[in-house]
């Protein structure tokens, strides 16, 4: 028989949580029930923990409803499909560009000087594009106000 002494109260302590959560073995459950039948302190603690659990369960810790998450999910789907689209597009552009450069350098009947001239024009354009793109990306990353809607 369990007594109503302080050491026994402490011993049952965490079992009270397991009891209200239905996570105890049958033997542990019986032990808690017998103990609480004889110990007013543990019995009132059990009631307090039950009430606490109910209150937390009934509280509203998120103000976002399912509609919000459905919208966010759609937004996510758009982002994912857009990423895949970009990946396919850039992949195809790189392959076509590679084939074009190969054909221009090795299979064209143009003279070396003309090839170098045209290569310099396209090479210059590509460098300018990369430079602007890099600058824009750095600015975008460092811009604190990019998410501010006007």
């Amino acid at each position: 028989m369990l007594s109503n002494t302080k050491p026994m109260d402490e011993h049952v302590g965490e079992l009270l949580s397991g009891y209200i959560d239905g996570e105890l073995t049958q033997q542990q459950r019986q032990r808690v029930e017998i103990h609480c039948g004889n110990c007013g302190k543990c019995e009132s603690e059990l009631s307090a923990l039950r009430a606490l659990r109910r209150d937390v369960s009934n509280s509203r810790l998120s103000e976002y409803g399912e509609d919000v998450w459905r919208e966010k999910m759609d937004d996510t789907t758009v982002k994912v499909t857009r990423s895949i689209g970009w990946l396919l597009f850039l992949g195809a552009v790189l392959i076509c560009g590679g084939i074009g450069i190969y054909a221009f350098v090795f299979e064209s009947s143009m003279g070396t000087f003309e090839k170098l001239l045209i290569g310099a024009v396209y090479g210059g354009l590509a460098l300018l594009f990369i430079s602007v793109l890099r600058q824009r990306l750095i600015e975008r990353k460092a811009d604190k106000y990019k998410d501010v809607e006007i």
């Binding site: 079992l15 949580s17 307090a48 998120s62 976002y64 409803g65 966010k72 937004d75």
Partner: protein, 162 residues
């Protein structure tokens, strides 16, 4: 995929509640859940239904995302006070639902590791095995940790009431 989307939509609110308790900010929490959605939808095959239900798995993804965000933050950027009132409704402001408000305030007063245990068990209704899985801890320690967390919350509530 459609079933998974439906399930994720239903899990959004609970995941947001957990993220809010970890991050202390409802907007950051929404970002964390959104990022988790994105990660899951990008690689849905990462979830193996044979290993267990989607709920604890998704909550673990959200929790990891939150921990990443906390690591990136400066220590001073932890607006815990926002936990007290992540969207007070007029009724709450008028004191109609004082108990609900008191719970929010008391949760904000206890450490994040205690808050998340209480939210996982009492708000999201996860079993001890699922909680252990989400937190990456031994199942045998869940009951004692949870009990200490509840006692801390109860004390915070009592102190708040005085």
């Amino acid at each position: 995929m459609t079933i998974m989307r439906q399930e994720l939509t239903q899990l959004g609110g609970g995941a947001h509640a957990l993220a809010t308790q970890l991050l202390g900010n409802a907007d950051d929490a929404a970002d964390a859940v959104h990022d988790a959605f994105e990660a899951v939808l990008r690689r849905p095959q990462a979830y193996d239904s044979r290993k267990g239900p989607l709920k604890p798995w998704f909550l673990r993804v959200v929790r990891n995302r939150c921990l990443d965000m906390i690591r990136r933050r400066r220590p001073s950027a932890m607006p815990v006070e926002e936990l007290i009132d992540p969207g007070t409704t007029p009724e709450e402001a008028l004191g109609v639902d004082q108990r609900r408000m008191a719970i929010k305030q008391a949760l904000a007063m206890i450490p994040a590791e205690k808050r998340e245990l209480i939210v996982l068990r009492d708000y999201l209704d996860l079993s001890y095995a699922q909680i252990a899985d989400v937190l990456g801890i031994a199942q045998g320690t869940v009951m004692s940790r949870l009990h200490r967390s509840r006692i801390a919350l109860k004390e915070a509530l009592d102190n708040d009431a005085q």
